[in-house]
């Protein structure tokens, strides 16, 4: 059984339809990436999965329907969404941001342990734990957003353009940590990226979205070798 399965997802903002029947599935423990150009509907797909935009179609998580449920209930099933724009609570401290990530968990005792765990991945955040999150750099805020997601102890993490606005060095570091999180903690990752080369190196499976539809899917290696993808998205 697939961990996450979306079939025939439609979504619109007001009158404008953005998704025209997106379908895909991912297995537990894997890294899947959704590729596509600006405006293809990648962010909307993630938002549709979390009930953040009006949708038609079916979404199943661990076999149970989650479409139509409230965002906060979907999150409580163990789906962490690291949103576009990072979603930082700017006026709160770094540590308060992290504690909020664990807000919906029942096991409050393990939260301290988890703080140390994410500080282990991102020592920079520990140095800045008492600092207002709004004063962190873009890279640090992205680390904070990923860490906030990890504090949920999610089964699945949705990452919306984690590389956006970051220097290549920091992107490399971040993707390394994402891989480590996937391998060590068996967190499945669904990564939306414009940076197709980085995403295909990280992922096991990939789906290519164009104007609200899946036009190509396969293992990351296959997609990397596809001529059209190579020309349009990888640029060589």
């Amino acid at each position: 059984m697939a961990l996450l399965e979306a079939s025939a997802l439609h979504a619109s903002y007001g009158q404008t339809r953005v998704l025209h029947g997106v379908s895909f599935a991912m297995e537990e423990g894997t890294i899947t990436t959704l590729l596509g150009a600006n405006g293809a509907g990648k962010t909307t797909t993630l938002r549709a999965l979390c009930g953040m935009v009006r949708t038609e179609g079916e979404v199943r998580f661990n076999g149970a329907r989650i479409d139509g449920r409230a965002t906060e209930d979907i999150v409580r099933l163990g789906i962490a969404h690291v949103p576009d724009g990072r979603g930082t609570f700017l006026n709160l401290t770094t540590e308060e941001n992290l504690r909020l990530g664990a807000y919906s968990r029942k096991d409050r005792g393990a939260v301290e342990e988890d703080l140390e765990r994410v500080y282990g991945y991102f020592p920079r955040l520990k140095e800045r734990h008492a600092q207002q999150a709004g004063t962190l750099s873009g890279g640090e805020q992205q680390m904070l957003a990923v860490s906030r997601g990890l504090m949920l102890r999610p089964k699945l993490m949705l990452l919306d353009e984690p590389s956006f606005g970051l220097s290549p060095l920091i992107v490399k570091e971040l993707f390394g940590i994402l891989r480590a999180v996937n391998e060590r903690e068996r967190v499945s990752l669904l990564v939306v990226e414009q940076n197709a080369a980085m995403a295909l190196d990280l992922a096991d499976h990939a789906y290519l979205i164009e104007t609200g539809r899946v036009v190509l899917s396969g293992t990351a290696d296959d997609i990397k070798r596809d001529d059209a993808v190579r020309r349009s998205y990888l640029g060589y």
Binding site: E72, V75, A80, L92, L100, Y103, S104
Partner: protein, 290 residues
């Protein structure tokens, strides 16, 4: 000099009451970006509930606690039933609803309890505390109660997960949902807390201004002035503003402009702050990158 000290201290006492109402205004403003014009009337109605309980033979403090609880429930219900449906309405529509609430509370209270002025008991002793002659026990007690409320609120928002969640929901609702916070309930909770604080303010001011359905008209104006002076989005500023407005009102009323023009102090402050420094003393000046 004696008279001056007396006026300053009496000003601090009423200032404490303005502070608690200003605090209630700021809480709702921070959570929803709305100014609740009915805050004063809600407080007045809660005070009548307390009066009913005390008259029915209940002890003051049990009645006090029960009133705070009922005010809290009232606030939550109002948010859920009346405010929720107009969540996305234009700001003017919201203002009209608030004014409607104000009028409804005022007239329903008048209808139930009549407009006859009633006395309201003070829980504090009749003779002045600590053998001093400047402040009555009730005045000292009211300041004490305000400070306790402020400390409790501070501790709640600073140290509890629920308080943190409320701050998060007010600041970034979308992100708050993404960590599993039920944002709608946080707003209702904010309304409940604000109504409860207002209720405390009402019970503290009633022994001074007496109980009648129009008792909060002036008080609410001072509270607005206090909230604006302190900075409408800053709870600490609202408390400071409350004490400042209380002292200014009393001192100016006694020595400069006379008692009849006291209320004008509040209005002048409101206009002055809006013209000269709209963010107040401690408010955040929003800077946006372009």
């Amino acid at each position: 000099m004696d008279a001056f000290i007396h006026q300053v201290l009496a000003g601090l006492a009423t200032g404490g009451i303005y502070a608690s109402l200003a605090l209630a205004l700021v809480m709702i403003y921070k959570a929803t970006n709305h100014l609740n014009f009915a805050q004063g009337e809600m407080a007045m109605f809660s005070t009548y509930l307390a009066w009913t309980m005390v008259n029915a033979g209940m002890g003051y403090w049990p009645a006090f606690l029960l009133t705070v609880l009922l005010a809290f429930v009232l606030g939550v219900v109002i948010e859920r039933v009346i405010i929720r449906p107009i969540e996305n309405a234009p700001v003017l529509a919201v203002v009209v609803v608030f004014i409607g609430l104000l009028v409804i509370f005022n007239s329903v209270t008048g209808w139930i309890y009549t407009y006859t002025i009633k006395t309201f008991p003070s829980p504090f002793p009749k003779e002045p505390l600590f053998g001093q002659k400047y402040m009555s026990s009730h005045e000292i007690g009211a300041i004490g109660v305000t400070l306790v409320v402020v400390l409790l609120l501070y501790a709640f928002f600073r140290f509890t997960p629920l308080g943190l969640a409320m701050r998060a929901a007010a600041q970034n609702p979308e992100s708050a949902r993404l960590v599993g916070i039920r944002v709608g309930w946080m707003l209702a909770l904010g309304w409940g807390l604000a109504a409860a604080i207002g209720g405390v303010g009402g019970m503290m001011v009633a022994p001074i201004v007496y109980l009648d359905p129009n008792m909060m008209g002036g008080v609410l104006l001072y509270a607005f002035a206090a909230a604006l002076v302190g900075g409408i989005d800053n709870p600490g500023g609202a408390v400071f503003g409350g004490f400042l407005v209380g002292v200014l009102e009393n001192v100016l009323g006694a020595f400069v402009i006379g008692n009849e023009l006291k209320l004008a102090v509040a209005l002048v402050l409101i206009i002055g702050v809006l013209v000269v420094r709209p963010s107040g003393f401690f408010g955040k000046v929003l800077v946006t990158r372009v």
